[in-house]
Amino acid sequence: MTTLARRAGFGHDVASIAGRALRLLPRDGSAYLPAMVAGVFILIINIAALGDLPEFVDIDIDYESYQLPVGILFAVTGLSRAYALVLDIEGGYLDRLLLSPISRVAILLGLMVADVVLVAALSLLVVLVGFVLGVEFTTGVLGVLVFVGLCALWGLAFAGFPYAIALRTGNPGAVAGSWVLAFPFLLLTTAFVPREAMADWLAAVAAWNPMTYVLSGLRSLFVGWDAAELGKALGGVAVLAAVSMPLAFGALASRVRRN
Protein backbone atom coordinates (compact mmCIF):
# COMPACT_ATOMS: atom_id res chain seq x y z
CA MET A 1 0.00 0.00 0.00
CA THR A 2 1.06 3.64 -0.37
CA THR A 3 0.44 6.51 1.95
CA LEU A 4 -0.78 9.93 0.80
CA ALA A 5 1.91 11.62 2.90
CA ARG A 6 4.88 13.37 1.34
CA ARG A 7 7.45 15.93 2.36
CA ALA A 8 6.07 19.21 1.11
CA GLY A 9 9.18 21.33 1.63
CA PHE A 10 10.41 23.73 4.28
CA GLY A 11 8.50 26.77 3.02
CA HIS A 12 5.26 24.80 2.95
CA ASP A 13 5.92 23.58 6.48
CA VAL A 14 6.48 27.12 7.75
CA ALA A 15 3.37 28.35 5.92
CA SER A 16 1.28 25.52 7.40
CA ILE A 17 2.30 26.38 10.96
CA ALA A 18 1.94 30.12 10.37
CA GLY A 19 -1.45 29.57 8.73
CA ARG A 20 -2.77 27.72 11.76
CA ALA A 21 -1.42 30.38 14.13
CA LEU A 22 -2.95 33.21 12.11
CA ARG A 23 -6.28 31.41 11.80
CA LEU A 24 -6.42 31.12 15.58
CA LEU A 25 -5.48 34.74 16.28
CA PRO A 26 -8.97 36.25 15.94
CA ARG A 27 -10.24 33.59 18.38
CA ASP A 28 -7.66 34.49 20.96
CA GLY A 29 -8.20 38.13 21.81
CA SER A 30 -6.02 37.80 24.89
CA ALA A 31 -3.08 37.38 22.54
CA TYR A 32 -3.26 40.93 21.23
CA LEU A 33 -6.02 43.04 22.80
CA PRO A 34 -4.14 43.86 26.04
CA ALA A 35 -1.05 44.80 24.02
CA MET A 36 -3.11 46.95 21.69
CA VAL A 37 -4.79 48.76 24.56
CA ALA A 38 -1.47 49.17 26.39
CA GLY A 39 0.22 50.66 23.32
CA VAL A 40 -2.47 53.26 22.72
CA PHE A 41 -2.85 53.96 26.45
CA ILE A 42 0.86 54.55 27.01
CA LEU A 43 1.07 56.74 23.92
CA ILE A 44 -1.79 58.96 25.04
CA ILE A 45 -0.82 59.08 28.73
CA ASN A 46 2.85 59.84 28.01
CA ILE A 47 1.92 62.66 25.67
CA ALA A 48 -0.58 64.06 28.16
CA ALA A 49 1.81 63.81 31.09
CA LEU A 50 5.08 64.79 29.45
CA GLY A 51 3.93 66.82 26.45
CA ASP A 52 5.64 69.99 27.71
CA LEU A 53 9.00 68.28 28.11
CA PRO A 54 10.48 69.66 24.85
CA GLU A 55 10.37 73.09 26.53
CA PHE A 56 12.94 71.86 29.07
CA VAL A 57 15.03 69.31 27.20
CA ASP A 58 16.45 69.25 23.72
CA ILE A 59 14.14 67.09 21.60
CA ASP A 60 14.26 67.78 17.88
CA ILE A 61 10.80 66.43 17.03
CA ASP A 62 7.37 67.04 18.52
CA TYR A 63 6.64 64.93 21.59
CA GLU A 64 3.74 63.07 19.89
CA SER A 65 6.21 61.75 17.33
CA TYR A 66 8.80 61.15 20.03
CA GLN A 67 6.36 58.96 21.95
CA LEU A 68 4.79 57.05 19.05
CA PRO A 69 7.59 54.43 18.81
CA VAL A 70 7.52 54.10 22.60
CA GLY A 71 3.81 53.26 22.62
CA ILE A 72 4.33 50.71 19.86
CA LEU A 73 7.39 49.07 21.42
CA PHE A 74 5.61 48.86 24.78
CA ALA A 75 2.81 47.05 22.95
CA VAL A 76 4.86 44.64 20.88
CA THR A 77 7.90 43.83 23.02
CA GLY A 78 7.20 40.34 24.26
CA LEU A 79 4.15 39.86 22.04
CA SER A 80 4.32 36.35 20.58
CA ARG A 81 2.56 33.04 20.17
CA ALA A 82 4.73 31.57 22.93
CA TYR A 83 1.73 31.17 25.20
CA ALA A 84 -0.09 29.27 22.46
CA LEU A 85 3.01 27.10 22.05
CA VAL A 86 3.15 26.26 25.74
CA LEU A 87 -0.52 25.28 25.59
CA ASP A 88 0.35 23.03 22.64
CA ILE A 89 3.04 21.43 24.78
CA GLU A 90 0.68 21.01 27.70
CA GLY A 91 -2.19 19.69 25.58
CA GLY A 92 -0.04 17.30 23.55
CA TYR A 93 -0.51 19.06 20.20
CA LEU A 94 3.23 19.66 19.94
CA ASP A 95 3.62 15.86 19.96
CA ARG A 96 1.25 15.70 17.01
CA LEU A 97 3.42 18.22 15.15
CA LEU A 98 6.58 16.31 16.05
CA LEU A 99 5.02 13.09 14.77
CA SER A 100 4.39 14.65 11.39
CA PRO A 101 7.11 14.82 8.72
CA ILE A 102 7.50 18.61 8.93
CA SER A 103 10.79 20.25 9.81
CA ARG A 104 11.23 20.87 13.54
CA VAL A 105 12.61 24.35 12.86
CA ALA A 106 9.46 25.15 10.87
CA ILE A 107 7.36 24.67 14.01
CA LEU A 108 9.03 27.66 15.65
CA LEU A 109 9.63 29.65 12.50
CA GLY A 110 5.96 29.34 11.49
CA LEU A 111 4.89 30.82 14.81
CA MET A 112 7.41 33.62 14.37
CA VAL A 113 6.01 34.43 10.94
CA ALA A 114 2.60 34.79 12.57
CA ASP A 115 4.20 37.03 15.20
CA VAL A 116 5.63 39.31 12.53
CA VAL A 117 2.20 39.66 10.93
CA LEU A 118 0.58 40.36 14.31
CA VAL A 119 3.21 42.88 15.41
CA ALA A 120 3.09 44.68 12.06
CA ALA A 121 -0.71 44.91 12.21
CA LEU A 122 -0.62 46.18 15.77
CA SER A 123 2.11 48.70 14.96
CA LEU A 124 0.12 50.00 12.03
CA LEU A 125 -2.90 50.43 14.25
CA VAL A 126 -0.97 52.51 16.78
CA VAL A 127 0.55 54.52 13.91
CA LEU A 128 -3.02 55.33 12.81
CA VAL A 129 -3.72 56.58 16.34
CA GLY A 130 -0.53 58.63 16.00
CA PHE A 131 -1.86 60.19 12.81
CA VAL A 132 -5.00 61.21 14.69
CA LEU A 133 -2.74 62.85 17.30
CA GLY A 134 -0.97 64.81 14.58
CA VAL A 135 2.13 62.69 13.91
CA GLU A 136 3.57 63.12 10.40
CA PHE A 137 6.13 61.13 8.43
CA THR A 138 8.17 63.29 6.10
CA THR A 139 9.44 60.03 4.60
CA GLY A 140 5.91 59.28 3.35
CA VAL A 141 4.25 55.92 2.89
CA LEU A 142 7.59 54.17 2.44
CA GLY A 143 8.70 55.65 5.74
CA VAL A 144 5.59 54.26 7.43
CA LEU A 145 6.28 50.83 5.94
CA VAL A 146 9.92 50.90 7.10
CA PHE A 147 8.72 52.08 10.51
CA VAL A 148 6.25 49.20 10.82
CA GLY A 149 8.80 46.73 9.45
CA LEU A 150 11.40 47.80 11.99
CA CYS A 151 8.86 47.44 14.82
CA ALA A 152 8.00 43.96 13.53
CA LEU A 153 11.67 42.96 13.44
CA TRP A 154 12.15 44.20 16.99
CA GLY A 155 9.07 42.27 18.13
CA LEU A 156 10.39 39.16 16.40
CA ALA A 157 13.85 39.51 17.93
CA PHE A 158 12.39 39.84 21.41
CA ALA A 159 9.95 36.95 20.91
CA GLY A 160 12.87 34.54 21.14
CA PHE A 161 12.86 34.95 24.92
CA PRO A 162 9.28 33.87 25.64
CA TYR A 163 9.64 31.02 23.14
CA ALA A 164 12.79 29.84 24.92
CA ILE A 165 10.93 29.93 28.24
CA ALA A 166 7.93 28.10 26.75
CA LEU A 167 10.07 25.34 25.30
CA ARG A 168 12.39 24.98 28.28
CA THR A 169 9.71 24.95 30.96
CA GLY A 170 6.46 23.88 29.27
CA ASN A 171 4.90 26.02 31.99
CA PRO A 172 2.16 28.51 31.03
CA GLY A 173 2.77 30.49 34.21
CA ALA A 174 6.43 31.02 33.37
CA VAL A 175 5.55 32.21 29.87
CA ALA A 176 2.85 34.55 31.17
CA GLY A 177 5.41 36.06 33.53
CA SER A 178 8.05 36.52 30.85
CA TRP A 179 6.75 40.02 30.05
CA VAL A 180 8.87 41.20 32.98
CA LEU A 181 11.91 40.65 30.76
CA ALA A 182 10.76 43.53 28.57
CA PHE A 183 10.94 46.10 31.37
CA PRO A 184 14.68 46.75 31.42
CA PHE A 185 14.63 47.18 27.66
CA LEU A 186 11.61 49.48 27.76
CA LEU A 187 12.61 51.65 30.70
CA LEU A 188 16.41 51.82 30.62
CA THR A 189 16.37 53.67 27.33
CA THR A 190 15.35 56.93 25.72
CA ALA A 191 11.65 56.20 26.13
CA PHE A 192 10.91 59.54 27.79
CA VAL A 193 13.91 61.82 27.30
CA PRO A 194 17.10 61.78 25.20
CA ARG A 195 20.26 60.37 26.77
CA GLU A 196 21.67 63.88 27.23
CA ALA A 197 18.90 64.63 29.72
CA MET A 198 19.42 61.48 31.78
CA ALA A 199 21.50 60.85 34.87
CA ASP A 200 24.95 59.68 33.83
CA TRP A 201 24.47 56.09 34.98
CA LEU A 202 21.16 55.77 33.15
CA ALA A 203 22.63 57.30 30.00
CA ALA A 204 25.46 54.76 30.19
CA VAL A 205 23.02 51.87 30.57
CA ALA A 206 20.84 53.22 27.75
CA ALA A 207 23.89 53.30 25.50
CA TRP A 208 24.12 49.50 25.91
CA ASN A 209 20.41 48.93 25.41
CA PRO A 210 19.64 47.93 21.81
CA MET A 211 16.21 49.46 22.11
CA THR A 212 17.82 52.91 22.34
CA TYR A 213 19.06 52.54 18.78
CA VAL A 214 15.80 51.10 17.53
CA LEU A 215 13.94 54.09 19.01
CA SER A 216 16.40 56.48 17.38
CA GLY A 217 16.00 54.77 14.03
CA LEU A 218 12.23 54.84 14.25
CA ARG A 219 12.21 58.51 15.27
CA SER A 220 14.51 59.41 12.42
CA LEU A 221 11.79 58.40 9.97
CA PHE A 222 9.67 61.37 11.07
CA VAL A 223 12.22 63.86 9.81
CA GLY A 224 13.88 62.21 6.81
CA TRP A 225 15.93 59.30 5.57
CA ASP A 226 18.98 58.72 7.74
CA ALA A 227 20.86 55.59 6.69
CA ALA A 228 23.18 55.72 9.71
CA GLU A 229 20.30 55.82 12.20
CA LEU A 230 18.44 53.04 10.37
CA GLY A 231 21.62 50.99 10.21
CA LYS A 232 22.11 51.34 13.96
CA ALA A 233 18.47 50.38 14.53
CA LEU A 234 18.92 47.23 12.47
CA GLY A 235 22.13 46.59 14.41
CA GLY A 236 20.17 46.85 17.67
CA VAL A 237 17.64 44.33 16.39
CA ALA A 238 20.45 42.04 15.23
CA VAL A 239 22.19 42.18 18.62
CA LEU A 240 18.98 41.25 20.42
CA ALA A 241 18.22 38.48 17.93
CA ALA A 242 21.77 37.16 18.28
CA VAL A 243 20.99 36.52 21.93
CA SER A 244 17.32 35.48 21.81
CA MET A 245 17.20 33.29 18.71
CA PRO A 246 19.91 30.81 19.77
CA LEU A 247 18.09 30.56 23.09
CA ALA A 248 14.78 29.84 21.35
CA PHE A 249 16.05 27.37 18.76
CA GLY A 250 18.34 25.74 21.33
CA ALA A 251 15.30 25.26 23.55
CA LEU A 252 13.42 23.74 20.62
CA ALA A 253 16.24 21.28 19.97
CA SER A 254 16.34 20.41 23.65
CA ARG A 255 12.57 19.92 23.79
CA VAL A 256 12.68 17.64 20.73
CA ARG A 257 15.48 15.59 22.30
CA ARG A 258 13.77 15.37 25.70
CA ASN A 259 10.45 14.46 24.13
Binding site: A5, R6, R20, G92, R96, S100
Partner: protein
Protein backbone atom coordinates in the same frame (compact mmCIF):
# COMPACT_ATOMS: atom_id res chain seq x y z
CA UNK B 1 5.31 -7.64 13.48
CA UNK B 2 4.15 -8.76 10.07
CA UNK B 3 2.72 -6.22 7.63
CA UNK B 4 -1.06 -6.12 7.67
CA UNK B 5 -1.59 -7.58 11.12
CA UNK B 6 -3.15 -6.11 14.23
CA UNK B 7 -0.77 -6.51 17.12
CA UNK B 8 -2.05 -6.06 20.64
CA UNK B 9 0.49 -4.93 23.21
CA UNK B 10 -0.77 -5.78 26.67
CA UNK B 11 0.50 -4.72 30.03
CA UNK B 12 -0.45 -2.90 33.20
CA UNK B 13 0.20 0.79 33.91
CA UNK B 14 3.92 1.47 34.05
CA UNK B 15 4.88 -1.67 32.14
CA UNK B 16 6.51 0.34 29.35
CA UNK B 17 3.85 0.23 26.64
CA UNK B 18 3.70 3.97 25.99
CA UNK B 19 7.49 4.33 26.13
CA UNK B 20 7.76 1.60 23.53
CA UNK B 21 5.22 3.35 21.29
CA UNK B 22 6.98 6.71 21.66
CA UNK B 23 10.26 5.10 20.60
CA UNK B 24 8.73 3.32 17.62
CA UNK B 25 7.06 6.50 16.38
CA UNK B 26 10.29 8.56 16.74
CA UNK B 27 9.16 10.77 19.61
CA UNK B 28 11.68 9.23 21.99
CA UNK B 29 15.19 8.02 21.20
CA UNK B 30 15.94 4.55 22.58
CA UNK B 31 18.82 4.41 25.04
CA UNK B 32 19.99 1.20 23.37
CA UNK B 33 18.99 -1.15 20.58
CA UNK B 34 17.25 -0.25 17.36
CA UNK B 35 13.88 -0.64 15.68
CA UNK B 36 12.61 -0.66 12.13
CA UNK B 37 9.15 0.60 11.23
CA UNK B 38 7.72 0.19 7.71
CA UNK B 39 11.21 -0.71 6.52
CA UNK B 40 12.96 2.34 7.99
CA UNK B 41 15.17 2.63 11.03
CA UNK B 42 13.66 4.89 13.69
CA UNK B 43 17.07 6.29 14.62
CA UNK B 44 18.79 6.76 11.29
CA UNK B 45 15.74 7.50 9.14
CA UNK B 46 13.04 9.03 11.36
CA UNK B 47 11.67 11.26 8.58
CA UNK B 48 10.75 8.27 6.42
CA UNK B 49 9.17 6.55 9.43
CA UNK B 50 7.02 9.63 10.15
CA UNK B 51 5.76 9.68 6.58
CA UNK B 52 4.48 6.14 6.91
CA UNK B 53 2.94 6.09 10.37
CA UNK B 54 -0.16 7.45 12.00
CA UNK B 55 -0.22 7.81 15.75
CA UNK B 56 -2.95 8.28 18.33
CA UNK B 57 -1.25 8.79 21.67
CA UNK B 58 -2.75 8.03 25.04
CA UNK B 59 -4.14 11.54 25.46
CA UNK B 60 -5.93 13.07 22.48
CA UNK B 61 -3.50 15.61 20.98
CA UNK B 62 -5.87 18.25 19.65
CA UNK B 63 -6.07 22.01 19.45
CA UNK B 64 -9.32 22.92 21.25
CA UNK B 65 -9.62 26.30 19.50
CA UNK B 66 -9.85 24.73 16.03
CA UNK B 67 -12.95 23.09 14.62
CA UNK B 68 -12.79 19.40 13.79
CA UNK B 69 -12.66 20.16 10.08
CA UNK B 70 -9.89 22.74 10.53
CA UNK B 71 -7.82 20.35 12.61
CA UNK B 72 -8.03 17.64 9.97
CA UNK B 73 -7.23 20.18 7.23
CA UNK B 74 -4.13 21.36 9.11
CA UNK B 75 -3.14 17.75 9.70
CA UNK B 76 -3.52 16.92 5.99
CA UNK B 77 -1.44 19.96 5.10
CA UNK B 78 1.34 18.91 7.45
CA UNK B 79 1.52 15.68 5.44
CA UNK B 80 1.69 17.55 2.14
CA UNK B 81 -1.81 16.56 1.02
CA UNK B 82 -3.88 18.70 -1.31
CA UNK B 83 -7.25 20.12 -0.25
CA UNK B 84 -8.95 17.65 -2.59
CA UNK B 85 -7.14 14.69 -1.08
CA UNK B 86 -8.03 15.91 2.39
CA UNK B 87 -11.71 16.26 1.47
CA UNK B 88 -11.79 12.72 0.04
CA UNK B 89 -10.12 11.30 3.15
CA UNK B 90 -12.53 13.16 5.39
CA UNK B 91 -15.38 11.45 3.54
CA UNK B 92 -13.70 8.09 4.02
CA UNK B 93 -13.29 8.72 7.74
CA UNK B 94 -16.89 9.88 8.21
CA UNK B 95 -17.71 6.71 10.15
CA UNK B 96 -15.26 7.73 12.79
CA UNK B 97 -15.79 11.47 13.00
CA UNK B 98 -19.03 12.97 14.20
CA UNK B 99 -19.89 14.86 11.00
CA UNK B 100 -22.68 16.86 12.64
CA UNK B 101 -20.06 18.44 14.92
CA UNK B 102 -17.25 18.72 12.40
CA UNK B 103 -17.60 22.51 12.13
CA UNK B 104 -17.79 23.06 15.87
CA UNK B 105 -14.77 23.99 17.94
CA UNK B 106 -13.10 20.98 19.52
CA UNK B 107 -13.38 22.57 22.97
CA UNK B 108 -17.11 21.79 22.79
CA UNK B 109 -16.56 18.07 22.03
CA UNK B 110 -17.17 15.26 24.49
CA UNK B 111 -14.30 12.97 25.48
CA UNK B 112 -15.44 10.28 23.05
CA UNK B 113 -15.74 12.74 20.16
CA UNK B 114 -12.25 14.08 20.88
CA UNK B 115 -10.77 10.58 20.97
CA UNK B 116 -12.36 9.64 17.65
CA UNK B 117 -11.25 12.91 16.04
CA UNK B 118 -7.74 12.24 17.31
CA UNK B 119 -7.89 8.85 15.67
CA UNK B 120 -9.12 10.41 12.42
CA UNK B 121 -6.20 12.88 12.55
CA UNK B 122 -3.84 9.93 12.89
CA UNK B 123 -5.39 8.32 9.81
CA UNK B 124 -5.92 11.33 7.54
CA UNK B 125 -2.82 10.65 5.41
CA UNK B 126 -3.65 6.98 4.95
CA UNK B 127 -0.63 5.64 6.86
CA UNK B 128 0.86 2.20 6.34
CA UNK B 129 1.30 1.57 10.06
CA UNK B 130 -0.93 2.91 12.81
CA UNK B 131 0.11 3.14 16.45
CA UNK B 132 -2.74 3.35 18.90
CA UNK B 133 -1.80 3.92 22.50
CA UNK B 134 -4.80 2.84 24.56
CA UNK B 135 -7.21 4.30 22.01
CA UNK B 136 -10.38 3.46 23.86
CA UNK B 137 -9.39 4.24 27.43
CA UNK B 138 -12.16 6.30 28.98
CA UNK B 139 -14.52 5.89 26.04
CA UNK B 140 -18.19 5.04 26.38
CA UNK B 141 -19.19 1.61 24.99
CA UNK B 142 -20.66 3.10 21.80
CA UNK B 143 -17.51 5.09 21.01
CA UNK B 144 -15.38 2.05 21.81
CA UNK B 145 -17.27 -0.10 19.33
CA UNK B 146 -16.99 2.61 16.66
CA UNK B 147 -13.22 2.75 17.14
CA UNK B 148 -13.00 -1.04 16.95
CA UNK B 149 -15.10 -1.11 13.78
CA UNK B 150 -12.89 1.51 12.16
CA UNK B 151 -9.70 -0.33 13.08
CA UNK B 152 -11.09 -3.59 11.68
CA UNK B 153 -12.17 -1.82 8.49
CA UNK B 154 -8.78 -0.17 8.07
CA UNK B 155 -6.99 -3.43 8.56
CA UNK B 156 -9.33 -5.47 6.38
CA UNK B 157 -9.94 -3.02 3.52
CA UNK B 158 -6.75 -0.99 3.41
CA UNK B 159 -4.28 -3.51 4.79
CA UNK B 160 -3.13 -1.09 7.46
CA UNK B 161 -0.82 -2.59 10.08
CA UNK B 162 -2.01 -1.71 13.56
CA UNK B 163 0.07 -1.66 16.74
CA UNK B 164 -2.35 -1.35 19.60
CA UNK B 165 -1.54 -0.96 23.26
CA UNK B 166 -4.30 -1.63 25.70
CA UNK B 167 -5.14 -2.52 29.26
CA UNK B 168 -8.41 -3.98 28.06
CA UNK B 169 -8.09 -7.72 27.47
CA UNK B 170 -11.41 -7.81 25.69
CA UNK B 171 -10.05 -5.26 23.23
CA UNK B 172 -6.95 -7.30 22.46
CA UNK B 173 -9.07 -10.45 22.19
CA UNK B 174 -11.52 -8.76 19.83
CA UNK B 175 -9.04 -7.07 17.56
CA UNK B 176 -5.57 -8.53 17.68
CA UNK B 177 -4.19 -11.20 15.37
CA UNK B 178 -1.25 -11.50 17.73
CA UNK B 179 -0.66 -10.34 21.26
CA UNK B 180 2.50 -9.43 23.13
CA UNK B 181 2.44 -9.28 26.91
CA UNK B 182 4.86 -6.87 28.56
CA UNK B 183 5.70 -6.91 32.25
CA UNK B 184 8.24 -4.56 33.87
CA UNK B 185 9.72 -3.68 30.49
CA UNK B 186 10.13 -7.32 29.38
CA UNK B 187 8.13 -9.14 26.71
CA UNK B 188 6.98 -12.24 28.62
CA UNK B 189 4.77 -13.88 25.97
CA UNK B 190 3.77 -13.42 22.37
CA UNK B 191 1.36 -15.23 20.07
CA UNK B 192 -2.18 -15.43 18.76
CA UNK B 193 -4.75 -14.95 21.54
CA UNK B 194 -6.16 -18.44 20.97
CA UNK B 195 -2.69 -20.01 21.17
CA UNK B 196 -1.86 -18.12 24.33
CA UNK B 197 -5.14 -19.14 25.93
CA UNK B 198 -4.59 -22.74 24.88
CA UNK B 199 -1.54 -22.74 27.15
CA UNK B 200 -3.94 -22.56 30.06
CA UNK B 201 -6.25 -25.37 28.93
CA UNK B 202 -9.59 -25.70 27.21
CA UNK B 203 -11.58 -24.49 30.23
CA UNK B 204 -10.82 -22.86 33.54
CA UNK B 205 -12.48 -23.36 36.90
CA UNK B 206 -11.96 -20.45 39.26
CA UNK B 207 -12.40 -21.37 42.91
CA UNK B 208 -12.32 -18.96 45.83
CA UNK B 209 -11.71 -20.66 49.18
CA UNK B 210 -11.88 -19.52 52.76
CA UNK B 211 -8.84 -21.10 54.40
CA UNK B 212 -5.69 -22.80 53.17
CA UNK B 213 -5.72 -22.36 49.39
CA UNK B 214 -2.56 -24.45 48.91
CA UNK B 215 -4.16 -27.43 50.70
CA UNK B 216 -7.22 -27.01 48.49
CA UNK B 217 -4.96 -26.98 45.42
CA UNK B 218 -3.33 -30.25 46.50
CA UNK B 219 -6.79 -31.77 46.85
CA UNK B 220 -7.75 -30.79 43.31
CA UNK B 221 -4.52 -31.73 41.52
CA UNK B 222 -5.17 -35.54 41.35
CA UNK B 223 -8.69 -35.12 39.91
CA UNK B 224 -9.04 -36.64 36.45
CA UNK B 225 -9.02 -34.02 33.68
CA UNK B 226 -7.17 -31.38 35.70
CA UNK B 227 -4.15 -30.10 33.78
CA UNK B 228 -2.76 -27.53 36.19
CA UNK B 229 -3.64 -25.63 39.34
CA UNK B 230 -2.37 -22.15 40.15
CA UNK B 231 -2.83 -20.49 43.53
CA UNK B 232 -3.08 -16.72 43.80
CA UNK B 233 -4.07 -15.54 47.25
CA UNK B 234 -7.29 -17.29 48.21
CA UNK B 235 -8.13 -18.15 44.60
CA UNK B 236 -7.37 -21.29 42.61
CA UNK B 237 -7.20 -21.29 38.83
CA UNK B 238 -7.83 -24.87 37.73
CA UNK B 239 -7.13 -25.58 34.05
CA UNK B 240 -9.13 -28.53 32.74
CA UNK B 241 -9.70 -30.20 29.38
CA UNK B 242 -13.47 -30.42 29.63
CA UNK B 243 -15.01 -27.99 32.08
CA UNK B 244 -18.54 -29.43 32.19
CA UNK B 245 -17.23 -32.89 33.06
CA UNK B 246 -14.57 -31.74 35.52
CA UNK B 247 -16.50 -29.20 37.55
CA UNK B 248 -18.33 -31.77 39.69
CA UNK B 249 -15.28 -33.92 40.55
CA UNK B 250 -13.35 -30.75 41.43
CA UNK B 251 -16.16 -29.58 43.74
CA UNK B 252 -16.40 -33.03 45.35
CA UNK B 253 -12.61 -33.20 45.89
CA UNK B 254 -12.66 -29.82 47.59
CA UNK B 255 -15.59 -30.80 49.80
CA UNK B 256 -14.02 -34.16 50.68
CA UNK B 257 -10.85 -32.44 51.81
CA UNK B 258 -12.75 -29.96 53.96
CA UNK B 259 -12.14 -26.83 51.88
CA UNK B 260 -14.66 -24.05 52.38
CA UNK B 261 -15.57 -22.87 48.89
CA UNK B 262 -16.95 -19.31 48.73
CA UNK B 263 -17.18 -19.07 44.95
CA UNK B 264 -16.80 -21.47 42.03
CA UNK B 265 -17.05 -20.51 38.37
CA UNK B 266 -16.47 -22.33 35.11
CA UNK B 267 -15.41 -20.34 32.07
CA UNK B 268 -13.17 -20.33 29.01
CA UNK B 269 -9.60 -19.13 29.57
CA UNK B 270 -9.02 -15.43 29.02
CA UNK B 271 -5.92 -13.44 28.26
CA UNK B 272 -6.07 -12.36 31.88
CA UNK B 273 -5.55 -15.98 32.88
CA UNK B 274 -2.54 -16.08 30.56
CA UNK B 275 -1.24 -12.91 32.14
CA UNK B 276 -1.86 -14.29 35.61
CA UNK B 277 0.05 -17.44 34.81
CA UNK B 278 2.97 -15.54 33.37
CA UNK B 279 3.30 -12.73 35.86
CA UNK B 280 1.42 -13.83 38.96
CA UNK B 281 -0.86 -10.81 38.82
CA UNK B 282 -4.15 -10.01 37.15
CA UNK B 283 -4.18 -7.41 34.42
CA UNK B 284 -7.91 -6.88 34.15
CA UNK B 285 -8.94 -3.28 34.80
CA UNK B 286 -12.30 -1.66 35.11
CA UNK B 287 -14.03 -1.59 31.75
CA UNK B 288 -12.32 -4.67 30.34
Amino acid sequence: MAAGEIYGFLGPNGAGKSTCVRMLCTLLAPTSGSATVAGHNVLSDPGQVRLRIGVALQDAALDPKLTGRELLAVQARLYGMSKRQAAIRLGELAGLVDMTAIDRRIETYSGGMRRRLDLAAALIHDPEVVFMDEPTTGLDPDSRVRVWDELRRLNRDAGVTVFLTTQYLEEADELADRVGIICRGELVAEGAPTDLKRRIGTDVIIVAVDGDAHAAAEAVRPVAGVESVEVHGDELTVAVQDGSRSVSPVAVALDTNGATVTDLRLRSPSLDDVYLELTGARLAVEGS
